[in-house]
Amino acid sequence: MPKSLGRRGFLKGAAGGAAAMAAGTPAAQAQQPTVRRAAGVPSAAARADETGPVSASVEVLTADRPGADFMVDVLKTLGFEYICANPGSSFRALHESIINYGGNKAPELITCCHEEQSVAMADGYARIEGKPLAVMAHSTVGLQHASMAIYNAFAARSPAYIILGNTIDATARRPGVEWYHSAQDAAAMVRDYSKWDDLPISLPHFAESAVRAYQIAMTPPHGPVLLVADSDLQETPIEASAKLRIPKLTLSSAPAGEMAAVSEVAKLLVAAENPVILADRAVRTAEGMKLLVQLAETVQAPVVGGKFPSHHPLNQAGGRGLIGSADLIVGLEVPDLWGSINTVRDQLHRSVQTYTKPGAKVVNISAVNLDIKSNYQFFQRYPETDVSIAADAEATLPYLIEACKRLITPDRKRVMDERGRKLAAAHEQGLERARTEAAYGWDSTPISTARLSAEIWEVVRDKDWSLVGGAPSRLWSVDTVYRTAGGGGAYGVGYSAPGSVGAALANRKYGRLSVAIQTDGDLMYAPGALWTAAHHRVPLMSVMHNNRAYHQEVMHIQRMANRHQRGITNAGIGTTLTDPNIDYATIARGMGVHGEGPITDPKDLAPALRRAMDVVLRGEPALVDVVTQPR
């Protein structure tokens, strides 16, 4: 029986004891306790093992082509621009193959300081680019770090692509740490909120599952996928006789609504006197935005929410009041349709109020039911509807538009045009109201959020801008799909900082000015994203909405204290970020990012933003800390 250390035994650190055991100790004796030497103090025998001639009992591990090289070939065919990772030994071979064999290009390795950051960057990147960014994560602990960001991506229907290192063969693991960092079924912990995963046991299996994973991630509803890359599979040399091929990737077309149901919705839309379109996540692409505009204009219906041009006359942002007078509500990829037409008052008494008037029809077109899970309750309360279509809304829009056009008579056209004129007037009034409201507190200290938003808009409006974190005010002209990226899909705090860096990374090659309105509580979860932005020269202007609190939680404690009639003066305990105030500009500078602030006087804001923008236009990140009113 040949003596063997196993494939990776040679480098088992300070492995004198292990080497001795492996040198032919009979099984019965192997069960005797063995005194191990401390790591980092190699024995003379171990030093001899590592520096002396290779003995017959030691497996030679030098190889021209490890399995990880083929994995890189697969990743290259899938067209990944970047792969985000915090380094971890369970994917050390793949890491090395990417930077050496793959030339650290397509994908280029992006160094992250936390796996939550890696996945959030992938999520943010996909919001702009519409395709996945790859992530490598380290077995158990790395995936545990990544899990919240995976849940956010899943809820946002964002196609993150995660490669998880793991060591399946128990006898191939190094003693100690690697056992803590290995799992039987590593992907299990996120299976409830990821779309698909696999554990390939051969390189052909890896190639096939890698291509399948990409296809699944990119089929609406999009979602994160995981591929477990066994460390032995990465490190074992490719056999000369191996016949490896990479399957062709064909993306699935998005599922469109069944025509009879689509025709029924068209009839309702054309006949409605006061229809409202709730567009939340309806738009995935630039083409989708054009289609949504086309639908709205075809039937002259107001659009509330979602990626609809903000200065279009049919945009009725904040027009929730329209729901109360609507006779038809059409939800397009609305994650919480029930919550859009009902409200729960959560004060001394809980009560439910329905916005809709009696007899109003409700339509739901959403792909969420095509990929539903049981455990995590992202699917929200069950909405009662009159027509429900399980399909991708954007893919359904062309058919819905054509079906509407076929049904519009001259009489209906007159009614629709008249409605459109009223809506256009309401839109203008809404803009005027927004201007008036923005003036309140204009010179306040702390700085009002309306002033913060207006000052940022003034700096970016003549650029090709992209708001990669936070939401624009109504005064911003959002005219194309990449202008906004949205927030954490499951409202998991800690998304915005890394998500905005990922989105800015996607914007970089187009020369867009990426800007994020960055909240303070969120930044404190994963501030290392700033270092990643500096290290990889990601141009991003982060402007802090620093209210020195987890403000949502302040309000919850206030609510409880009120309910219990104990006064609310203690609501700041455990919810505020003061004493000491956090100096975000110094944190930024410490990470190599241009940092300004804290800005407390509104007059200082514009000059600071312009200085920061100059830095960003040079291709580097900048942060301006602005102390703001709470909301």
Partner: protein, 106 residues
């Protein structure tokens, strides 16, 4: 005797005159700012100033709100404190006209 009476009356009046200064402190310590911002200009909640509602309507709403605002009972905010808060809201000046702010009018 007359002087004492006058001083007593003056003292009573001072004691009863709502204090905008104290109202500002209460506005923060009682967390009004959390939804209405420190200057009462609104935020997550409604705009309260300038030009607050008449006191009777204001007081009624604070005690028995109908929207998302949590109710503030007399046990939590006394009538006197509420009057001080109202005085603070009355003291908040008008903002500049939106039309006079160039960056709001592009």
């Amino acid at each position: 005797m007359r002087l004492v009476a006058l001083l007593t009356l003056a003292s009573a009046l001072v004691a009863q005159t709502p204090s905008a200064l104290n109202g500002k402190k209460l506005f923060d310590s009682y967390g009004c700012y959390q939804c209405h911002d420190h200057d009462g200009h609104g935020g997550a909640g409604a705009r309260l100033a300038p030009n607050p509602l008449p006191f009777a309507a204001f007081s009624k709403y604070v005690r028995q709100p109908t929207g998302e605002m949590p109710p503030y009972t007399k046990k939590v905010v006394s009538d006197r404190e509420l009057a001080d808060i109202y005085a603070y809201l009355q003291s908040i000046p008008q903002p500049p006209a939106a039309k006079s702010i160039p960056i709001l009018n592009h």
